[in-house]
Symmetry: C2
Subunit: 223 residues, 2 copies
DNA sequence: TGACGCGATGACCGGCGGTCATTTAACTCC
DNA sequence: GGAGTTAAATGACCGCCGGTCATCGCGTCA
């Protein structure tokens, strides 16, 4: 049994070097991600994460003290990656229209469903059973990324002030969280929403987000 | 033991009449609400809900098939009450400015923290472990209330069309959900956010919501 | 007052997050 | 290359909690 798995194994069975530990950590995060993408936070079992990497359940807890810590770490990675993508888009020269910006933000979230789903869980679930240190490290990273984004936004849209840029970012965060929850629904709810007369409750994440940000920016500009 | 509790008991020990059953159901919802207000969904144990009403744990499950069903029923009540309040406010004559409306919505949510906290859990948690029938009943009620609100909004703000009114409502829903999660944080996160430099991440629910809706409406009007 | 229906009970179950004594892979030193 | 050392991995085990159900006994009515 060890033999069969050992062949597929990239990381040595015992990760002793820091480099191998880091690789093992990544394996676990990848497994958690894949399982989460197929189901939901509640449905992902720590034992499944372990099984997917060919490790024992106890081993997962050597790398992450709690289930929430594992997923918060995953969110941390995804958030960093997404901010990098967004800030890359915003780093171009010139000024934009509000609608251009809204589309750019919405497009940058394309294919980031995992990220937005986890983001929606951040405050309600993930920050519940986690050390202060980890929660702080996460928020610290958010803060830095937000600062960069705020500066870039002000460069792209001249009518933004530091205050309105901050308001805009928080607002977009709230919209992403809220709209993701409305759009990404449980199987039970999906069945209900399929009914024709339920149309007003159905939400197209991307379209709705673009429209909302566009409207918000028009409102800020018209002030 | 039965004696001591029996004195306080309003509903007879055995609820045989429909009226008594309904009263017992209310007792359970009230208990769940009180416990949720003091802690969080995860921290409320079904055994606690039972204990608070002086009943056995098994009894709770005679009234609600799952924990999620109990809380979705609670949300159902709170949502109905809040829509009634909002629609009452909107039922006045005359046209309003966008900011007046925004303030009115935000004010109607004053003291409704329990409602908004539960609303934020609706799609992620509450609709997970619930029968299709209950999920449908809930959404059906949302639909009706939303229809009324949409009509009233269009009467108050002439620049709204049926489409933009619908968009606005969904957007406000997303904002309420998202902002509530950002503002109503876990103890761990609260400790982190107390740090001075974390100020940009702190959210004042009411202020932020009012500002966002005002801006949105200005954007819709300027179109 | 006896009997019966049904609401209440709480011991019990299964599953999951999390722990820890033990095992053993991997590295070191001679 | 073999003996010794370190610490990563293991998996049986624990406690807790949502949920079940055989049993009990209250309230009702003949």
């Amino acid at each position: 049994m060890v033999g069969a798995l050992a062949e597929k194994r990239i990381v040595p069975l015992r990760a002793r070097r820091d480099e191998d530990k880091e690789a093992r950590r990544r394996e676990l995060l990848d497994a958690a991600r894949a399982l989460f993408e197929a189901t939901s936070f509640a449905e992902v079992k720590m034992a499944d994460v372990a099984a997917r990497t060919g490790l024992a359940k106890g081993t997962v807890f050597l790398y992450f003290p709690t289930k929430e810590a594992l997923f918060l770490a995953l969110l941390d990675d995804l958030l960093t990656a997404w901010f990098a993508k967004l800030n890359g888009r915003l780093a171009q020269d010139g000024t934009w229209t509000g609608h251009q910006l809204a589309r750019s933000v919405a497009e940058s979230l394309e294919g980031e469903e995992t990220f937005t789903r986890l983001l929606a869980l951040a405050q309600t679930v993930l920050e519940q059973n986690v050390t202060v240190a980890q929660a702080r490290a996460f928020k610290e990273r958010v803060l830095v990324a937000m600062g960069t984004t705020s500066a870039l936004l002000q460069a792209r849209l001249p009518f933004l002030t530091p205050e309105t840029a901050g308001q805009l970012i928080r607002c977009v965060h709230a919209l992403v969280t809220g709209l993701r929850q409305m759009a990404d629904i449980a199987p039970v709810a999906r069945e209900v929403l399929t009914l024709p007369h339920m149309a007003p409750l159905r939400v197209d994440f991307r379209a709705e987000l673009t429209a909302a940000i566009t409207t918000l920016l028009r409102g800020l500009e018209a002030r």
